[in-house]
């Protein structure tokens, strides 16, 4: 009964939000640019969710999710360029990434804590280096170009992308939410709380970690798969360590072990990053004109400022509020309806 209520609630909520957003798009309140940021936010949330599953709920810090994103994106990009049907190419990208996650997880998950963090970092770098060196196949350092979009007409690519990305994100949220509420999910949380005690209770630590890691890779790969036709052009430089760290920042800010926290901070940080990026030039010019450019050019470059800000957010959060915005709590929408019984 509870499960049914959950499903109805989740479906209703997602459908409602989707209908509102879609309505705003079709009457033209949300312009194409905002829509593009919304799609980016959706993809960021998917990757951050997958990272939260392995790092927040299972307690194994991974620093290579940009690598998974890259594998998903490149696989789908290559499949699409080879004229594989669209839904197959998307699923293909996600499944290839999941397989890779499974294969990497096998040796890597025998390690603990910070060693695992470093190995995943290393794997992310290896993936990037391999993409650069695979020549024609991946387009090398200059990138993979002219990937077919969601729509034939480039003008409506963003709304078409939204039609795919939003439901996919919703499915990812539902998948992770149901997983962590299942008995396997409780096993994952027990690993985070105390690995040794959990093992003593009979939890198959390695198998559970591997499952969590593979699901995580699948979701991150799905985000990558949806990213390729959305953006149309893939360059290996976009999948570096700093990208992985951006997802860590989303998860940490929202709260390691909170899905709603990840969604909130995913939307917030995507918009913040975009605002900083588009306004940085203007601010730099404002400062320059304030002090006068003739005096020897005291210009302050605000472009790297967003990175500085993100770094500071990490440090300050860890010192003063290590649990992030929501900690392991969730915003529960069932509460809204409980009063009206």
């Amino acid at each position: 009964m509870r499960i049914l209520k959950n499903l109805v609630l989740l479906g209703g909520l997602g459908g409602g939000l989707f209908a509102v957003l879609w309505g705003l798009i079709s009457i033209g309140v949300l312009d194409d640019y905002t829509l593009q940021i919304l799609c980016t936010a959706g993809l960021n949330i998917m990757v951050a969710l997958s990272l939260n599953l392995i790092s927040g709920f299972t307690g194994q810090l991974a620093l290579g999710h940009a690598g998974f994103l890259a594998v998903g994106a490149y696989s789908t990009g290559i499949l699409l360029l080879a004229h594989v049907p669209f839904p197959l190419a998307i699923m293909g990208g996600a499944l290839i990434t999941a397989l890779l996650g499974f294969l990497i997880g096998f040796p890597a998950l025998r390690l603990r804590g910070d060693y695992l963090a470093i190995v995943t970092l290393g794997v992310g770098e290896i993936i990037r280096v391999l993409i650069i060196n695979l020549g024609e196949f991946t387009g090398g350092a200059s990138g993979l170009r002219n990937i077919p979009g969601y729509a034939q007409n480039i003008m409506v690519n963003n709304p078409a992308a939204f039609l795919w990305i939003f439901p996919a994100m919703f499915i990812a949220v539902a998948l992770v939410a149901n997983l962590i509420q299942s008995s396997q999910g409780r096993a994952l949380i027990s690993i985070r709380e105390d690995e040794v005690a959990s093992q003593a209770m009979g939890v198959n630590i390695f198998g559970m970690k591997l499952m969590s890691f593979t699901v995580s890779a699948f979701i991150a790969g799905l985000a990558g798969a949806l990213y390729a036709p959305f953006i149309g052009y893939l360059a290996p430089g976009g999948f570096d360590f700093l990208r992985s760290v951006f997802f860590v920042i989303i998860v940490v800010l929202g709260g390691m072990g909170s899905l709603t926290g990840t969604i909130l901070s995913g939307v917030g940080l995507t918009f913040l990053q975009e605002a900083l990026r588009t306004n940085a030039k203007d601010w730099s010019q404002a400062v320059a004109s304030l002090f006068g450019t003739s005096t020897g050019g005291l210009t302050i470059d605000f472009v790297p400022m967003s990175q500085v800000l993100f770094g500071l957010v990490l440090v300050i959060l860890m010192i003063f509020r290590p649990e992030g915005l929501l900690g392991t709590k969730e915003l529960r929408f069932t509460r809204l309806f409980r009063g009206a019984k």
Partner: protein, 300 residues
């Protein structure tokens, strides 16, 4: 003969590069040994040392005195920065879960990499340092030795020798070893843990700062992200040698330098990153305690 000369050539280059990696790796391994923290910002301290010496060298030119001044500024600047970071960012988290400290270190690293880009006198452009050739190239038959590589190797060996003297024979070194063995018991024995941890960060940062100067003398191009790759590679060196082990960091650094120059020389310079991280994954799979590390059983 051709192959033989090439091997000797790469051997010298590799040992010289490996020396620099070993210097950085020592900082990682000492810090990890004592507070169990992978100090992600360590590579960026190399960057700061490099910039400090760059400013001295471009202002005063290349004289023995300016080189000495660059060395001193790089070392002392790095020490101040390293100790400051530890006191302000890592100390509050000493008893927090290790993952939290690791995330903090990543945050510190991002700030160090990007904050200098905001200011116009550093900025985000590449800078090149015109290093004069101090001496004639030394040639033995077909083999050409670039003197700066030899100087680098000698300087790193001297610095490592000094470090061993400090750690093995000074009182602070003894305190370091005690704290890394058991922090709680050392505190009970009257050792100031905070001071010892600061001292460890000071030693590690000094080596990284010196490494920064040596790095730009060998690879004379600077930008604020330059510390990331040497930092990561040095970390791999530390793991390879056995993290927490000082001789291990030296051996690991030299092996990694050789692996990198041989990959560059015989396969492709694009693949060095993959080879280095491949080594890391292999060593973690088959011997996670490293070549010279000690495997400690976890007690519950």
């Amino acid at each position: 003969m051709e192959l033989f000369t090439q091997i000797i050539q790469q051997l010298i280059n590799g040992l010289s590069l490996g020396g620099i990696y070993a210097l950085i790796a020592l900082g990682y391994t000492m810090v990890y040994g004592i507070v169990k923290l992978i100090n992600f910002a360590h590579g960026d301290i190399l960057m700061v040392g490099a910039y400090l010496s760059y400013f001295v060298l471009t202002t005063f030119g290349f004289t023995p005195w300016s080189l000495a001044a660059a060395f001193a500024l790089a070392v002392f600047g790095s020490v101040a920065l390293g100790v400051g970071i530890e006191a302000s960012c890592y100390r509050p988290l000493r008893n927090a879960p290790r993952i939290n400290a690791l995330i903090t270190a990543i945050g510190v690293s991002i700030v160090l990499e990007n904050l200098p880009r905001v200011f116009p006198f550093i900025g985000s452009d590449y800078r090149n340092l015109a290093v004069p050739s101090f001496f004639e190239n030394i040639t033995f038959g077909d083999i050409t030795i670039i003197p700066i590589k030899l100087i680098t190797l000698v300087v790193t060996l001297v610095l490592m020798g000094l470090l061993i003297l400090v750690v093995d024979y000074s009182k602070s070194g003894k305190a370091m070893r005690a704290v890394s063995y058991d922090m709680g018991a050392s505190a009970l024995m009257g050792i100031s843990v905070n001071r010892t941890v600061s001292f460890t960060f000071a030693l590690g940062s000094a080596l990284a700062g010196a490494g920064g100067l040596l790095y730009i003398l060998n690879f004379p191009q600077l930008d604020t992200y330059m510390g990331i790759m040497p930092g990561l590679k040095a970390f791999v060196a530390a793991v390879l040698g056995g993290i927490g082990s000082i001789p291990g960091a030296m051996v690991g650094g030299l092996i990694l330098g050789l692996a990198e120059t041989f990959t560059t020389g015989f396969i492709s310079s694009d693949l060095t990153g993959a080879v280095v991280f491949g080594i890391l994954i292999l060593i973690l799979m088959f011997k996670p305690s490293g070549i010279l590390g000690v495997h400690r059983k976890e007690k519950v």
